[in-house]
């Protein structure tokens, strides 16, 4: 991120702080969760189709558009105009989107149908006392 604080000790009088040379910027969640700001989007989960993967109703997902999907990735894609979060599967049976909840159907891709891929989910933020 661009706005990182510069930390430098200033000593007017007395002994220099022994901690000065060890000072570092504080931990920043952006640095941890957002590797490529230009390609990163936040989306909100509605419903429980991915509850088995630890993604619950109301959770916030960090999505990186720059990453190409690989078998087993949790991704965001558009199906018939609506965005959905599912596990991407690609094997001998073709490409499909798998929910992590037995109550939801698997979404197969017809042969020749191209996946309308949005991005790969890189993190899920679940707040315990959240306001919606």
């Amino acid at each position: 991120m661009s706005s990182k604080a510069k930390i430098s000790g200033s000593v007017v009088a007395g002994f220099p702080s022994p901690a000065e040379q060890y000072l570092e910027p504080p931990l920043d969640l952006n640095e941890l969760l957002v590797k490529r700001p230009a390609a990163t989007y936040f989306v909100r989960v509605e419903g429980d189709s991915m509850v088995g993967a630890g993604i619950r109703d109301g959770d916030l997902l960090v999505v990186d558009r720059s990453l190409r999907p690989a078998d087993g990735d949790v991704i965001i894609a558009s199906v018939d105009g609506d965005f959905t979060v599912k596990t991407y599967r690609r094997d001998k049976d073709g490409v499909r989107l798998e929910p992590a909840n037995p109550e939801y159907p698997v979404i197969p891709l017809r042969p020749g149908q191209e996946l309308d891929y949005f991005g790969k989910v890189t993190a899920c933020i679940h707040r315990f006392a959240r306001k919606r």
């Binding site: 989007y41 989960v45 189709s49 558009r65 720059s66 558009s78 105009g81």
Partner: protein, 415 residues
């Protein structure tokens, strides 16, 4: 070598990233107050509906489901533009942003071996990372790069490199389509039989100068492949700072006039502070609504007691003048404010003997206001003069999409 990158049908493309139902459909983005079409999808263009067509003429075709429309979502377009520019800054030696959807780039020397490959890679990266399709044109000058960009946009890979001898291309290009040739000039040019870009390039310098002065000569030089556009710093201090907007519906009350002007003053003052400038005074104005368009302007000039960037001082100074703009029974189209006499603080000027609050205190107040608004959203902290009610004078954006990249409460939802 210079590259020009621009987003195809940029506003429409931004809407489509987050609304996939718009893909493949004829869709247009509307201007302020949902007035007319300012960005059109290819499908919309294919129907032969020109740029600038008023929205009300197309409402029936929207109701029938044939056409789709969106209000201008500047918050979204601004953020998408920022993302593209940050990618360009990573991939190019230098970037000059020219408008919200256009930027000149100076490619690294490593790109020289194959500009087309570099351009395709860049285009692909922007498309994947941001979701916006771009056109890219490379040429030795900005004017030629503009032309290369137009050609690139129509090619399937979106990229075009101007050939060493562009004569054939320039011969096919009407002169009025060259960047920098104004709308008035073609008449004079035609009189001199300068009809194409090639004619302009090859005309004698004296002829060119007599038609369009040194500006047109510079354009001709650029067509000859000699860079003449100085590298402009588009982020440099502006010459003037202003803010104005049309009302959603014609305004008839003194409150609408006063509140809208207070809001635009606050917005323009924040911009002033961002640039670290003070204003000596301002012109405030109101335009009277006339059904056929146009309408007279009423204006007032206000000089502040000392150059300032503090919203509250400005509001105090303009209050009486705002009242003077109001005529009962009149309908107003728009209001606005333009600052003049911009200067950096510390420039010598006479101070106001009766100004009680020390400058440091004022700047602390507005540094705090700006920081709060940056953190919690534009307009969270505002002056009461901007009005606490329904703000009926606000810009009409009835078909506004969400702002999923700048507002936590408007995120895209996934199921």
């Amino acid at each position: 070598m210079i590259g020009l990158v621009d987003g195809n049908n940029f506003f429409v493309s931004c809407e489509r990233v987050f609304n996939r139902r718009l893909v493949g459909r004829p869709v247009a983005v509307l201007s302020n107050n949902d007035g007319c079409c300012v960005s059109r999808s290819n499908e919309f263009k294919a129907l032969g509906i020109p740029m600038g067509t008023p929205y009300f003429q197309l409402k029936a075709r929207e109701a029938s489901g044939e056409l789709s429309f969106c209000s201008s979502n500047y918050e979204l377009y601004g953020d998408m533009s920022r993302r593209i520019i940050s990618i360009l800054r990573e991939e190019a030696v230098d970037v000059e942003q020219y408008s919200i959807d256009e930027a000149f780039i100076f490619p690294p020397t490593t790109a020289a071996a194959d500009y087309l490959a570099y351009g395709r890679r860049l285009r692909d990266k922007i498309l994947r990372w941001v979701g916006i399709p771009c056109g890219i044109g490379f040429a030795p000058t900005k004017t030629l790069a503009k032309i290369a960009n137009h050609i690139g946009k129509k090619r399937p890979d979106g990229v075009f490199l101007m050939p060493d001898d562009p004569t054939e291309i320039l011969a096919a290009l009407p002169v009025q389509e060259v960047w920098g040739v104004g709308r008035r000039l073609p008449l004079k040019l035609r009189a001199e039989r300068i009809l194409t870009a090639q004619h302009l390039r090859d005309a004698p310098d004296d002829t060119i100068r007599s038609i369009g002065g040194v500006t047109l000569l510079r354009t001709a030089m650029e067509l000859r492949g000699i860079p003449c556009h100085e590298e402009r710093d588009y982020d440099a201090d502006p010459d003037s700072i202003s803010c104005s907007r049309s009302f959603g519906e014609p305004a008839t009350t003194a409150e609408a006039l006063a509140e809208s002007l207070a809001a635009y003053t606050a917005q323009a003052a924040a911009k002033l502070r961002r640039h670290g400038l003070l204003a000596a005074g301002c012109n405030i104005y109101a335009q009277i609504f006339a059904s056929g368009g146009g309408g007279d302007f009423l204006g007032r000039t206000v000089v502040f007691s000392a150059p300032t960037d503090a919203t509250n001082e400005m509001l105090r100074a303009i209050r009486e003048e705002v009242d003077a703009l109001y005529i009962e029974g009149t309908r107003y189209r728009k209001t606005g404010i333009v600052f003049f006499g911009l200067e950096k603080p510390g420039t010598a000027h006479q101070t106001d003997l009766f100004d009680a609050s020390p400058p440091a205190e004022k700047s602390r107040l507005y540094a705090t206001v700006d920081a709060l608004n940056a953190r919690y959203g534009k307009g969270k902290v505002f002056s009461a003069a901007q009005g606490l009610g329904a703000r009926s004078w606000h810009m009409k954006r009835q078909k506004l999409s969400r702002r999923p990249t700048t507002r936590w409460d408007e995120l895209m939802t996934v199921r």
